[in-house]
């Protein structure tokens, strides 16, 4: 923060030391220095503001605010004060106050370009589009510079975009914006490319495609030079909107001749071709088909065009492009869709794909390319295809283990591609158990053999043969899910740990390990894995769910809290970041980016995951902290929780989860479908609703239970209490309804692909009885509250009701606890068995117990808590006693000594993690038990 203005200004000299202290983070000294200065110069307002900044930064928000307001009410017009206040308000997250500041300044100094411009930006920061429009105009009238005029126009476009009523956008805002631009066009005042871009945006949004097209093709379009192919791209877009298929076709053709690798133009070329065929279009005259040149209208022309492109590539000495060969497969695909017999002219898809593999099989992308067109092969050709591909892979002589290996990385890549294709075709899935185990042996041999090619790889680079290792893991998972043999899972973990030891940067290894540990209920190793993934910004939203779904539910409360915080920090910073750059985009005329920035921000604000972590974070704090370190009421107040308010955008929830972040080579029928996505979002939303209602109920309970002077309250206070208890009642019936919906959803028993989204906690929350326990406990609290208002004398009915609810709650809790019994980890016949669901149920037991503890009845509860504690202690003891070293590994399926080591390490991690969860759960229960004991009747 630097003092601006003239060096001569003596005030600048006086203020300098304070700025310096603030810049260096020495807030105390800044405050002292400001005080000193203010003693001598009472009217040096800026010193006050700088002092306020110091106060704000040392946590004295209230003092800072009132000091700032002292200055603000004087409506300062000196640069120093204005800038300092702007900074202060921004740090206070009160950007709306900046607008007030400059509104006053502009009134006092109406000819200041600088203040007008600050005012515009201040409005931009808070998204006041109408005021931006006016401020932009006022600015232009003060200083007639084009950018200011167009700031105002853009603000009209923003009003259109944000209008709830689309009609208003179409009939008012956009036409007005259009007229404003037209005026400048008529007066020949258009200067910059940005202005033309904006004009185009307006016409496009108005659906005036013909006008937009004319504009782009005309003299104004000549200004569109920064972006490559800007005019062509815009024309193409308009041709498509206007369904001008001849132009679309001809332009695509032209652009493809120039660059035969531009995929999007093959698509528009084919699209337009078939539209023209459907319309039996023929050119109006032979010489000129359309303004863009020659048009193709027959399959024969298209076939020839594609074949010619391939021949061009074949002739080239340099690296061939993939585009033409892929276009050939795409054309076959489209012809087949239309039932058109001409596809034979292009050749047999099997031969074409083999040809493609011959040319590009040594590139890692070959699999992603071919995968798209595998459906062109009939199933009876699959094995033949695999065999023929195999013939194109140069492998060395078959050794004594029965395998031949590739001699270099190109051959390795080809072999790998065949393995992947075989999996995508489903050929691995049809193998029986024995076949799958043989496949594992083969893939492992290739994996280990291939490691020699990557000996000189840096730690940050991947091993060439990593994909083999990942495929081994996938086959193990197949075996585990099909047979239920946990040994397969342990070996899977082992092979992934081994892979990671050779290739420590492989994110796919980490992701799969992370998923498996979570499914196993072992959260501890997950923390390190996730942090080594080095997830950045948006990833906290897209893959954060992998972590936050399990953290709390497995009883790792500290880790859970940490992971929620990671995500929340990202979401909160996003808001501030985007505002700054929206302003930058205005300054530089990057108008088309502004709606993008705003859409991005909205998408994050409406994120399912954001709402989840927000809710879970507060619930976790209440469950683990409230009534232990502080009262429930204090906790609720500190969180700023308001039970009447629901801040979750239920109708616009955005599922930003990346559900295909884990590689999968599963065939189409096993892939994640849109229906899966829909069901998963539905399930998560209902679970979120249960959680958010629970949270609001807790808040409502806290504020109600501790309402002041309940008994002798005057009328208003009584009304206050009853208003709150009716909130409680409303929320309770909402919870009840939600639980009914939840029951219907869990009846569907949706199964997702293994590598797809994890199931929500909904099903286990319901089946464990936890949800109903919580609801009962909350209902009981409400009844207790009624008892307090009614008074003990006239409430015998209520008292009986309470007594019964209480008994039934205790029975429910007892049942819930009994579902936790059993061993989470045990050794049977030298096999290690896990029951992670027990851990999850235990967490489900703890939550309502904690909740029940808020009420002033405890006797039987103490009994149950003691039982639970005994169970936890017992589990801890048996876990500690479990000596995994005694386990003989490698039984049944041959594992080398080294592989056993990795498997054992994974087992140790699971054991330690279970122990960690139990300890955290035990601690929480013990604290709860203590606070129960200390309660007095």
């Amino acid at each position: 923060m630097a003092a601006r203005g003239h060096v001569q200004d003596p005030n600048d000299r006086r203020l300098r030391p304070i700025y310096d202290y603030l810049d260096n983070g020495n807030n105390k000294m800044a405050i002292q220095q400001a005080d000193k200065l203010l003693k001598k110069h009472k009217d040096l307002h800026c010193a006050k503001v700088l002092k306020a900044i110091g106060l704000q930064r040392t946590g004295k928000q209230d003092e800072a605010f009132s000091l700032a307001q002292e200055v603000a009410t004087l409506e300062p017009t000196d640069d120093n004060s204005l800038q300092a206040l702007t900074i202060l308000y921004r740090e206070m997250h009160r950007p709306e106050l900046v607008t007030k500041l400059y509104e006053a300044a502009v009134k006092k100094v109406p000819l200041s370009e600088e203040y007008h411009s600050h005012l515009f930006m201040a409005y931009a920061r808070v998204g006041e589009y109408k005021k931006m429009q006016q401020a932009g105009m006022a600015l232009y009238k003060t200083v007639p510079k084009n950018p200011y005029y167009f700031w105002s126009v853009m603000s009209l476009v923003m009003q259109a975009i944000s209008a709830q009523d689309e009609k208003l956008a179409q009939t008012m805002f956009l036409p007005l914006a259009e007229r404003m631009v037209e005026k400048m066009v008529k007066e020949e005042k258009i200067e910059a490319e940005a202005e033309v871009q904006l004009y185009f945006m307006i016409l496009e949004r108005l659906g005036k495609y013909v006008e937009a097209l004319d504009m782009v093709r005309g003299p104004l379009g000549e200004k569109l030079t920064s972006e490559l192919q800007s005019r062509e791209n815009k024309c193409m877009m308009m041709y498509q909107r206007l369904q001008l298929w001849p132009e679309c076709n001809a332009l695509s053709y032209k652009l493809l001749l120039k660059n035969p690798d531009e995929w999007q133009f093959y698509l528009s070329y084919f699209d337009s071709l078939f539209h023209l065929m459907d319309k039996s279009w023929s050119p109006p005259n032979e010489e000129e088909h359309c303004v863009e040149g020659p048009v193709h209208t027959t399959v024969a022309e298209a076939v020839k065009f594609v074949v010619d492109r391939m021949e061009e590539e074949d002739k080239k000495d340099s690296r061939p492009l993939r585009g033409p060969y892929m276009a050939c497969l795409e054309l076959i695909h489209r012809l087949r869709q239309r039932g058109c017999p001409d596809e034979e002219e292009l050749g047999d898809p099997l031969e074409l794909m083999l040809q493609f593999f011959g040319k590009f099989g040594d590139k890692p992308c070959c699999i992603t390319d071919l995968k798209i067109y595998l459906h062109l092969l009939p199933p009876e050709q699959h094995t033949q295809f695999e065999n023929r591909l195999g013939e194109l892979v140069p492998l060395g002589e078959v050794g004594e283990d029965g395998f031949g290996f590739p001699g270099d990385t190109k051959a390795l890549q080809r072999h790998l591609c065949v393995c992947q294709l075989s999996r995508v075709l489903g050929l691995q899935h049809t193998l029986d158990t024995e076949g799958k185990l043989c496949l594992i042996t083969e893939l492992k041999a290739h994996y280990h053999y291939g490691l020699q090619f990557g000996k000189s790889c840096l730690k940050t680079e991947l091993q060439f043969s990593d994909t083999y290792c990942l495929m081994v893991a996938h086959v193990y998972i197949d075996l585990w899910t099909e047979t239920g043999d946990e040994n397969m899972l342990w070996q899977c973990l082992g092979v992934l740990e081994e892979g990671l030891s050779y290739s420590p940067s492989n994110a796919q290894f980490k992701l799969l390990l992370l998923l498996l540990f979570c499914r196993l209920g072992a959260f501890q190793p997950v923390v390190d894995l996730y942090s080594s993934l080095d997830a950045k910004h948006v990833q906290h939203d897209t893959i954060g769910y992998l972590l936050t779904r399990y953290a709390g539910s497995l009883g790792q409360f500290a880790a859970a809290s940490q992971s929620y915080n990671f995500s929340l920090r990202f979401f909160h910073s996003n808001q501030k970041d985007t505002s700054e750059y929206i302003i930058q985009a205005y300054k530089y005329g990057a108008f088309e980016k502004i709606p993008e920035f705003i859409a991005f921000r909205t998408r994050l604000n409406q994120s399912l995951h954001f709402a989840q972590v927000r809710t879970e974070r507060m619930l976790l704090d209440l469950y683990t902290e409230a009534d232990i370190t502080s009262s429930l009421e204090e906790s609720v107040k500190a969180m700023g929780l308001c039970p009447e308010e629901d801040d979750i955008p239920w109708d616009n929830m955005r599922d930003n989860r990346d559900l295909t972040v884990l590689f999968s080579w599963d065939p189409k029928d096993r892939e994640l479908t849109e229906e899966h996505r829909r069901l998963s979002l539905e399930e998560e939303s209902v679970w979120l609703k249960v959680r958010s209602l629970t949270l609001r109920l807790l808040a409502s309970l806290a504020l109600l239970g501790h309402a002041p002077s309940k008994r002798n309250s005057d009328k208003t206070n009584e009304n206050g209490v009853s208003a709150k208890s009716s909130t409680l009642q409303t929320l309770l019936s909402q919870l009840d309804l939600t639980l009914q919906t939840a029951a219907q959803i869990t009846e569907k028993q949706t199964q997702y692909p293994f590598l797809g989204p994890p199931s929500s906690r909904l099903a286990s929350a319901l089946s464990s009885g936890s949800c109903h326990c919580q609801a009962s406990a909350l209902q009981l609290s409400l009844t207790l509250q009624e008892l307090e208002t009614t008074g003990l004398d006239d409430s015998s009915e209520l008292q009986t009701q309470i007594c019964n609810s209480f008994k039934s709650l205790i029975v429910q809790l007892q049942e819930l606890l009994s579902r936790c019994k059993g061993d989470v980890l045990e050794m049977k016949d030298s096999r290690l068995m896990t029951q992670p669901s027990l851990l999850e149920t235990l967490v489900f037991f703890v939550e309502p117990v904690v909740l029940s503890g808020f009420q002033e009845w405890t006797g039987s509860l103490q009994g149950i808590v003691t039982q639970a504690l005994d169970h936890v202690k017992g589990q801890e003891a048996s876990l500690t006693a479990l000596k995994l070293a005694a386990l003989t590994l490698g039984v049944g399926h041959a594992q080398t000594q080294e592989e056993c080591g990795f498997t054992r390490a994974a087992m140790d991690k699971v054991q330690t993690s279970y122990l960690g969860s139990l300890q955290e759960l035990g601690d929480l229960l013990r604290k709860r038990a203590d606070s129960l004991k200390s309660l007095k009747f």
Partner: protein, 169 residues
């Protein structure tokens, strides 16, 4: 084969390495310099991001490559070269004298690739890359390629002495 398009600011960003403000800054200022390549299946193959800067009067107006990244599965397809070619074309249109970029001296693969694309080492910048976890900071090569406006190719005459990061503009 590839679809090359202007970067629309969306969740594509999640595969990239910098903080969101960094991208926003570039998009707000030089949107034309941000190009992504997309595979037919929709996968993000790679992207390039750059800017135009420098004084025209001192013949230092130029295009700068800030980031160039190609996903591992899409390497060895010539995509980096294609993206570089596009950035150079944009810089040509803006009337730049040259295009420059910084690269770790240890990144031999990248240095060789840029040499193949016509770039040469203009100077070494000492300790340009600050290292984490206790390893020493690393030097950068400032590599340049002259554009057609620099007819005498003055902008790429190497500076023999290494410079410090604070001395570059």
């Amino acid at each position: 084969m590839t679809t090359l398009r202007a970067f629309t600011f969306n969740f594509d960003i999640c595969y990239n390495n910098y903080g969101i403000p960094f991208y926003l800054q570039y998009l707000a200022h030089w949107p034309e310099y941000f190009i992504v390549a997309e595979a037919p299946g929709g996968e993000l193959m790679g992207y390039i991001m750059g800017k135009a800067e420098g004084s025209v009067a001192r013949e230092e107006w130029h295009g700068h490559v800030t980031a160039l990244s190609v996903a591992p599965e899409f390497r060895r397809l010539g995509l980096a070269a294609k993206l570089m070619e596009m950035l150079e074309e944009i810089s040509e249109r803006k009337g730049g004298f040259f295009v420059d970029l910084f690269v770790r001296v240890s990144n031999q693969v990248a240095v060789n690739m840029y040499k193949q694309l016509g770039y040469s080492v203009y100077r070494t910048v000492i300790e340009y890359y600050s290292a984490s976890n206790g390893e020493p900071d690393e030097d950068a090569y400032d590599m340049r390629k002259a554009l057609s406006r620099d007819t005498e190719r003055k902008s790429i005459i190497p500076i023999p002495h290494p410079v410090r990061p604070e001395d570059i503009e």
